[in-house]
């Protein structure tokens, strides 16, 4: 880890990170702001969801209902929008942190300084993880702030809400890890972006299809996103710790392989 490089990269990408983080936090506050009016009609909305084909409710994580604040948020934000936002963020930033620098040639300057490649790659990975932590941290804080402003005391189950955020972070630690691995072995920025984008949204689509139809359920078995089940977390059901550990392991392994591969390969600089 090189502090000088970390600071430089963070200042370079901080604006983008803050845009995502503020956007996400704002959306969270907005959702909590409208929740009280939804809550008073939650029964009607639950009936509406129940009337929809079963697959749709499952696909968009609406099955946990709208009875509690955390289940409303898990369905309305963590089920789809946050996942899409963070997928885009992880793939874009991971590509910029290695493949773009190699493609443009600016990596030559980092490696002409007395920094080992392992150090450079580890530092860049830390920048990505910092960005994810920043976005999830701001979103979590916004959740608590929003709950304090708009909801009655205790309406948001803090334990489950934290678990939900922790799990979302772990999912993107894994997604970011894979995107980082692709970035670390690529010479071409566009190609790295294409491959990690295809992997991420491929996983996402498999999971979505698997949830839409009972017959395609097996598709979820091959998708990373199946380990992230916001509906189950807020209900307190399902093996969340196990899934969390799996995501952490996959992410850590992907980052580690990315760093090792980057150390050993030829760079066209």
């Amino acid at each position: 880890m090189s502090l000088a490089l970390y600071r430089r990269m963070l200042s370079l990408h901080l604006k983008t990170m803050m845009n995502y983080a503020v956007g996400s936090a704002f959306y969270m506050v907005l959702m909590l702001g409208i929740y009280p009016s939804i809550a008073s009609n939650s029964q009607a909305i639950d009936e509406l969801v129940a009337a929809m084909p079963e697959g749709i409710g499952r696909a968009f994580n609406l099955t946990s209902g709208f009875g509690t604040a955390q289940s409303f948020i898990s369905g309305e934000y963590y089920g789809l929008i946050l996942v899409l936002i963070l997928s885009v963020f992880s793939v874009l930033l991971a590509t910029q942190l290695i493949a773009k620098l190699v493609d443009q040639g600016a990596m030559a300057y980092l490696l002409a300084a007395p920094l080992t490649r392992g150090k450079v790659a580890f530092t860049q990975a830390s920048v990505l993880v910092t960005g994810l932590a920043l976005i999830m941290g701001m979103t979590t804080i916004a959740g608590f702030a929003g709950a304090a402003i708009f909801l009655e005391d205790g309406a948001l189950d803090s334990g489950r809400f934290l678990a939900l955020n922790g799990m979302a972070f772990l999912l993107f630690f894994a997604v970011g890890g894979i995107a980082f691995l692709v970035s670390a072995v690529s010479n071409d920025e566009k190609r790295a972006l294409g491959i990690s984008g295809a992997i991420t949204f491929g996983f996402f689509t498999l999971d979505l299809l698997g949830r839409l139809s009972g017959q395609l359920d097996w598709l979820r078995a091959v998708s990373l996103f199946a380990l992230y089940r916001p509906g189950e977390i807020v209900e307190g059901s399902g093996p969340a710790p196990l899934f969390g550990a799996a995501l952490l392991t996959i992410g850590a392994a992907a980052f580690a392989i990315g760093i090792v591969r980057f150390r050993r390969r030829d760079l066209p600089l």
Partner: protein, 296 residues
């Protein structure tokens, strides 16, 4: 200081470098000459540790460039052939960043270099011309006063005035004991600074020569315009194969090394004008390469 031993790297498509060996001694300015695509940059990438050799090795002060990547950079300054700076910085921020990475505290040296190369370090990098980026790159390579500086095509993009400033800079550093490896496809650039040069062609070292020896290998074309047409013919006949008559009064003569004989041969005739054309480097290589193949 720098040893390249039997370095080999083959790329798909038959390109690459084969069995490249040379040594650069401490305090020497070593030229690395070759046409575009001959393998200069590939060799330099191995010295910097960007690539793993298929065979052979590069050592800098005894450190293997692939094994000790990140350590030998402490003694190196590097100017890439194609400069690309990280985005979103101005020149000063970039140089601050590089100084921090290199752990160099000497800002006075940097200010002095910026003054000499005359540029505004606060210009955002994306607004810089090629020449200006080159200047920023030169400052980044020199500012931490490394004992070995590697320059890949250093004067490309610099105007003649700045080329001169740059050459002075190299000569001053050389006087302080700094070692240089400088690649170029221009003989003129190498001629003014280097002690020795290696010539590389199609991935192989063709020769490692003293610079004076290389100068003598370079043929010069003299275009002599005589006052009388008859003199032109007489002169051309005397020079034989080396001479060629151009429109009436003018004769072109190729001269390699022996300038005295050439001067003696034009002395008897009244001369109106003489032009000199240096043979370009590619032609020298061609000559050298053809000869060495014949000898082999």
């Amino acid at each position: 200081m720098l040893t390249v031993e039997r370095l080999t790297k083959r790329f798909a498509g038959g390109k690459g470098i084969e069995d490249v060996s040379f040594q650069v001694e401490k305090g020497e300015v070593f030229g690395f000459l070759g046409p575009n695509g001959a393998g200069k940059s590939t060799t330099i990438r191995h010295i910097l540790g960007f690539m793993k050799p298929d065979a052979g090795r590069v050592t800098v002060q005894g450190m293997d460039s692939w094994q000790h990547q990140g350590q030998l950079q402490r003694v190196l300054g590097y100017l890439p052939g194609e400069i690309a700076f990280p985005e979103g910085m101005n020149g000063k921020a970039f140089l601050d960043f590089m100084a921090e990475l290199q752990g160099c505290g000497n800002m006075a040296r940097r200010g002095e270099l910026i003054d000499r190369l005359q540029f505004d370090a606060r210009t955002p990098i994306r607004k810089m011309s090629k020449g200006m980026k080159q200047k920023v790159g030169i400052v980044a390579a020199f500012m931490h006063a490394p004992p070995l500086i590697i320059l890949d095509e250093p004067t490309s993009g610099l105007d003649p005035l700045m080329q001169k400033v740059f050459i002075d800079l190299v000569l001053e550093e050389k006087a302080r004991g700094t070692t240089f490896l400088m690649s170029s496809h221009s003989f003129a650039e190498i001629e003014r600074t280097c002690d020795r040069a290696a010539i590389i062609k199609q991935g192989r070292i063709v020769a490692v020569k003293d610079i004076h020896e290389l100068q003598s290998m370079q043929r010069k074309i003299f275009e002599v315009t005589f006052v009388n047409e008859a003199d032109a013919h007489a002169f051309a006949a005397a020079r034989g194969d080396e001479a060629e008559i151009r429109k009436g009064h003018t004769v072109r003569v190729a001269v390699q090394g022996d300038y005295n004989a050439f001067l003696a041969s034009i002395l008897p005739y009244p001369v109106r004008n003489i032009d000199v054309f240096a043979q370009n480097l590619e032609d020298i290589f061609m000559n050298y390469y053809d000869q060495s193949e014949v000898l082999a």
